[in-house]
Symmetry: D3
Subunit: 335 residues, 6 copies
């Protein structure tokens, strides 16, 4: 059976000044659309996977533009609900040497933030679907949305679908307490969990210092698997190695064993969406039955390439990821 992926969350208009300008000196914004699960869907569609995205957007032309941005890359948009008045917006000042990334949200009052359980008919949405993916941002948006996520998970499990969740803790959206309570309920339904150190600390108050010499991502994965019936925990982490360079590495923990990818040293064009690209790499790997080592290399390479693409979406093909992950061939121009 062909895999059909459904992702669910909020897509926003992202506005960022050109050329690393500050907000106080720009008179134009680059405009793209993005959001955790939308990014994962686009990435999967670029891998030629049947990826579908569910959200709620206003009927107006800006809402349509968001949909078009998904459709352009082949994402299925048939179950996007239209209604509400506003689209979520986020403003982004890009990290520039010592000046950190600056994100300002304008998402309260958006169509998705005000969406209710009635907006989503999961039976129809999941018709023919095999995989459900979302991130911890979605339940963080409102209590209603927490419940919607749980409903969706239950329905997905009923239908025998795989459920994956990127924990993705956002302290600006909810407190650790609230996150812990909600995510603990949600994680009961999750098969594949994507989690990094910050998520484990922020949501489940884990302490990597307790690892006792064990590699800390593996330690966290093991601890999480004690609490929840995950089949796999995956993680990707980025470390600043110099003011111009970051190191990227990933781990997959499954069946009691940790698999580590090779490391990439990257110069970064865009910091946003690297985790979402990793999720897409992971889902692609799993539906194609890659073994864990191949999966972690593929997912890590997919995430690495995202850092070279402007905007939230990862616009790379399977061939490009494969070449980076597994080919020793140099990167010189082919001409």
């Amino acid at each position: 059976m062909k895999d059909k992926i459904v992702t669910f969350g909020e897509i926003m208009l992202r506005l960022s000044p050109e050329n690393n300008a500050r907000f106080t000196q720009c008179n134009a914004f680059e405009a793209v659309y993005g959001g955790g699960e939308a990014n994962t869907a686009v990435s999967l569609a670029n891998f030629d996977v049947d990826a579908n995205y569910v959200t709620k957007l206003p009927k107006h032309i800006i809402g349509q533009a968001a949909i078009n941005s998904l459709r352009q890359y082949g994402v299925g948009v048939d179950h996007i609900v239209r209604g509400g008045d506003q689209i979520g917006i986020y403003f982004l000042e890009k990290k520039t040497s010592q000046r950190p990334t600056n994100v300002i949200y304008n998402r309260a009052g958006s169509a998705f933030a005000l969406a209710t359980a009635d907006d989503f008919n999961w039976d129809e949405i999941f018709d023919g679907a095999t995989w459900f993916h979302f991130s911890g941002i979605t339940p963080a948006i409102s209590d209603e949305m927490t419940n919607i996520c749980i409903t969706a998970c239950q329905k997905a499990k009923e239908k025998g679908m795989t459920v994956s969740c990127d924990l993705n803790y956002r302290s600006k959206l909810w407190s650790s307490e609230k996150a812990c309570e909600a995510m603990s309920r949600i994680c009961q339904y999750v098969d594949v969990c994507i989690a990094n150190e910050d998520d484990a600390i922020g949501i489940f108050s884990m302490n990597p210092a307790d690892a006792n010499g064990e590699e800390k991502n593996a330690y966290i994965a093991k601890e999480l698997m004690k609490k929840f019936p995950f089949k796999m925990v995956a993680s990707v982490w980025r470390t600043e190695t110099s003011i111009t360079t970051f190191k990227l590495q990933s781990m997959i923990y499954t069946e009691g064993k940790a698999y580590y990818s090779k490391e990439f040293f990257m110069h970064i064009l865009d910091y946003i969406g690297a985790g979402d690209a990793y999720c897409a790499g992971l889902i692609y790997s799993l539906i194609n039955n890659f073994d864990p080592q191949k999966a972690v290399e593929f997912s890590n390479a997919a995430s690495c390439l995202k850092h070279t693409v402007s905007g939230d979406y990862n616009l790379v093909t399977v061939d490009e990821v494969m070449k980076l992950a597994f080919s020793d061939a140099g990167n010189e121009v082919q001409r």
Copy 2:
């Protein structure tokens, strides 16, 4: 005594695609800040008037950028309240031949929309002030804001200040019924009313067809003066004369007489803020004791020039307005 003007309302971030593109085809937005009363304040500051603007804006850097846009042109910003989370935004597709202007608001939930009476200390704000100006958009934002406007008007009258109000009916913000009820209360305090045909119909259900042959702006002015203790009613109207040309004319009605400006035939670079520029022209005229005919010519020319300036603000000097209003000199390059 030197005149000190205070204007009050919401300033928004305006986002419009470059080069008349549609929202569905743009990947960048021109960004300016604007809003009825802010526009009037900037225009007055460009006329070297002591113009001050009161609003509420978030503490974040986008809020600061809005303030900077005012400060840049010399508007006093000392009484702008900082707080709340979001800035109001509006999206603008510019009119292009038969394709009409398209405005989409993203202002629900803004700092100003959620502002309360406690935010504004009118005694301090009006210290030394001689004139208070606002538009009908401000009370339309919330019931709380209606009351804030009334409080401000009362305080202004106590202090012997002149109060001007541009009726500016916005059907997307309130119903005719609600507008009528609120504006009827507010207009008790207004000395100078700026009103056009649409406002009179939308708010006070007037019927210009009842004019019985009288020029309809004069008719409306007279009818309004029957209802409210206005000392003056002023109006500016724009008529499409061909697909590339609009005609602009203005009227001032005072002491039982209507004064009409000459007409300008304009090609329009920016349709927004022409009424606000007119208000600024009018206030400038009145604080400089122009006679009604001079006042209507000056105000009309100020409004005309606004159509040649991109963005919400009217960036022209008194000299430029005077030259257009009263000089026969050609417009050829001086070099």
Copy 3:
């Protein structure tokens, strides 16, 4: 049965200097994709019609970008053939007052120009389809393409589909003789013919001067209907009324009667694709069973709005066309 439209032709990369610059002074090109039948398909998709596009494009990422540009607006792209090495390109200097539009083609050697009959499996392509549309540009591209068009027409007629063809004579692509020979064969299969004066003269050597006082579009339609089994001939024409203004009007001739639209006086943002937008308006009208007068007004308004949209594609909705075609409401901003 829901209508499913198939259009067929070449989509090209269109490169034009920004801000009306000449080629010799620009160092950047605006890049969009377009081509007669692709434009019609996008326009139909924007009308929420099930519109599909068939062409051949290289496998490389520029070919993919062309496909994405269609997919973004909802056009079905499942039957686009991938292969060949080059994409067709056209360079465009926009008309600027007395300086005429300047088009330079770089399309010889494109994947589509070198496509062969084997590339297109019409049985699969037409599965479930109800309408086939193409223009006279497509058979002009090569002898092979002429034959492919005839094959497609035959297959469409076998399946009971409606066939429409916009004659669209291109003197840069073929001679009058060659065009006449090929189009005479093709027109045997056409139900709805879109033709203007230049097409009639260029392809069929008609002489409008023979109209003997009859309106010349109607005359041409009648003459064409004598030669071919058309059920309808439709035409749209643009007349320069001043250096800044063009007049647009349309006619539908069917069952012995000519129906004329009202006229629009337009300022033009983009001259390209107006005829393709007209075809889309016509197809929409016919599949929705508009009467001829309603159809000609709708189609003419659709074409009018295209002139306000930059690029080849007509990015307007049915609502927007309806409002222009049939509403007396002014074009003032709604806010």
Copy 4:
């Protein structure tokens, strides 16, 4: 003998805000190079004439960029003197409906303004040359430059060259008195004088009202020919016919007869350099022995097309001018 044209004057860096913005709202400038005589030289080079330009520019890379801008279009730059420290600059706000063109000069202290007679070796410069052209701007720059112009004229006449001068009065550069004194000396050497009404009034205090019903350009030409040994006086004038349209017409007066061109009604992309383009059209006409009627049509069409080209330079070919001047063919796209 092949004609070789030498033009002489100052080339400046022109800085103008994009999209008709005001100086107070722009954070980027479009940058082109231009100046009366440079513009004429470029225009002639685009007509495939051997056109050469003489000026003085700093040795730095901005000076080089100015030279490259000329060389790009084929102008001979072998006699451009390098030295001095600054390049002349002018800032330009483009006319926008009622808002007039605004030019601000930053040219005092430029290499050319401080140039001395020693900088120019006219014997070498004029080697093989047949025509010398300059405008009244050049002698206006300094007393030294007035003398340099006279020296150059004397040398040109010695060598049997034709001398043409566009009077081009600039009130910002010199007074009427000073202009009259200098130009009266210079005009003794001029064969072909380009002059319009403003020049005649500004420099020679003529009064077109004295024309007594005669067409005023012809009157001025006749009066000028009484004062100076001109063989021809030519003029081009632009009249605002509506806020979006200007009318352009030209006259050549020679051997006691005035020849008038047809009129063009233009929408204007760029107001600068139209007179310089006219001079180029005239010089081209005369070195190709066009009769006066053909010459005035060609020159007028050349000037008309300049209004459609952004920047100071007229980037059109002889073919394009010919087509506009003499062809009845429509301006529709050829494709």
Copy 5:
């Protein structure tokens, strides 16, 4: 008493090609305003200090735009003199790997370069002021300006103000001899001297090689304090550590002791204005009574952040500087 800072110098229009282009290949310039003391004033205003700027600018709209650029960030502009004809301009090619920064001045003949002592009424300017700051560029502009600086210093000392001066040697503006003579007179009045190695060598012919093992900035500070009655000497230096990375460190020398900041390894967005930002950091530190170690860290961090902001001005807040200077928190996105 609240501190009120006055800075004095020339503000120029800075023109630089976009995207690291060379002057010979660009047709647009990014335009910002800047100049040593203006940059310091803007930086202080962004720290919420009452910062005022004194200069002379033409009355035209470009002069106004320069003022607006200061006002936008809250700098006091009440004592800016208007007059003269030209604004100083500098052209900037940004350093790009091995290609060095290229600066071309067009400032001779500017309003400020031609300003005279009469233009500045120091009694009025210094009314209520507590601190006077300028750099060695200002006296370098003309002999008149040297004297104006001395007059201003004398007046400042009379009023009990603190005087700070950034030596800032510019070999393109004056010789070492002239600089030494003038700066020796000026330094008699200076309390806080900002000086680096190049200044000490260029102006006072010091030889860091004489340091005898002592850290050379401390050595220079001590030597300077022998010559002049400075209370403090401060220095910031940037070292190229790789083609993509620079190291930044600072020192404050006071009361016989040198205090060193930590080092930052930076990727640089804009090389201009880092010293001016350092001065602002220092003045902020001193008026807030930071101890020397805190002061040097704050100033160094302020300068570091300037390298991340495009343009001459340092657009960062006290919070941002504090976070970089004193927080161990990572720079990851907060969201």
Copy 6:
């Protein structure tokens, strides 16, 4: 005798997305012209060498724009043949961290690809010329072009000119077998060969592993000199040393000895044309009789600076190259 260089090859329009965007996300292309030999010619012209370029381009305005791009920098274009219909185009996605450079050619069917021997009259072209340069790309374009190259080489040798060839193997244009056969014939005429490891492997199937410890560029040079009568073999190589840094070094092998340049560690703005810039540096060195060590340093520095210039052309002066190659002076701003 003054040296006159002739270079020969195809110049193409290069289209690349702005700001490192991918083709699928851009709606504008930066447009420059370039091609191996054209790049070398421009570089030489910027060194004030009499450099001439021979190619074939269509008569249309895009062909003219390509010529203008050469003329702008002073390249002689008198022998460029006009004819054919299309210009060669290449699309370029710039390398961005792990995402490699992506080049897509659209050059089949170009005027140059279809050029024939009759198009080029080598006697006229080489009149007065002293040096002929081309690259291995030119003969790779067609069999006809291989023969044209041989003819040109023969003619050049007859006239006593120096012939240089950059082997420049392009696997997308021809196979190793074909390249070997053709280049072996051509190399008989070559005096100065520019070759790197990839060329030696790709064309002549050399194996650097056979070097037996010898530096591999020297080994290749020696092997090539065994096969062909080269007087000199020169090479430049770029090594990725980190994700942000490349190392550049060069070698000249002549008279049995290898000369190595110093190394540059570069951050790269543009990867294209570095080899062409190296060729220009070499030719400049040889016509100025630099000794081999000076020549290799100059050529290497020229190539290094190319990496800092956007576009195909190396826009640097001899002074700039000299300063980088031989001066110890820092790269700090001179101001």
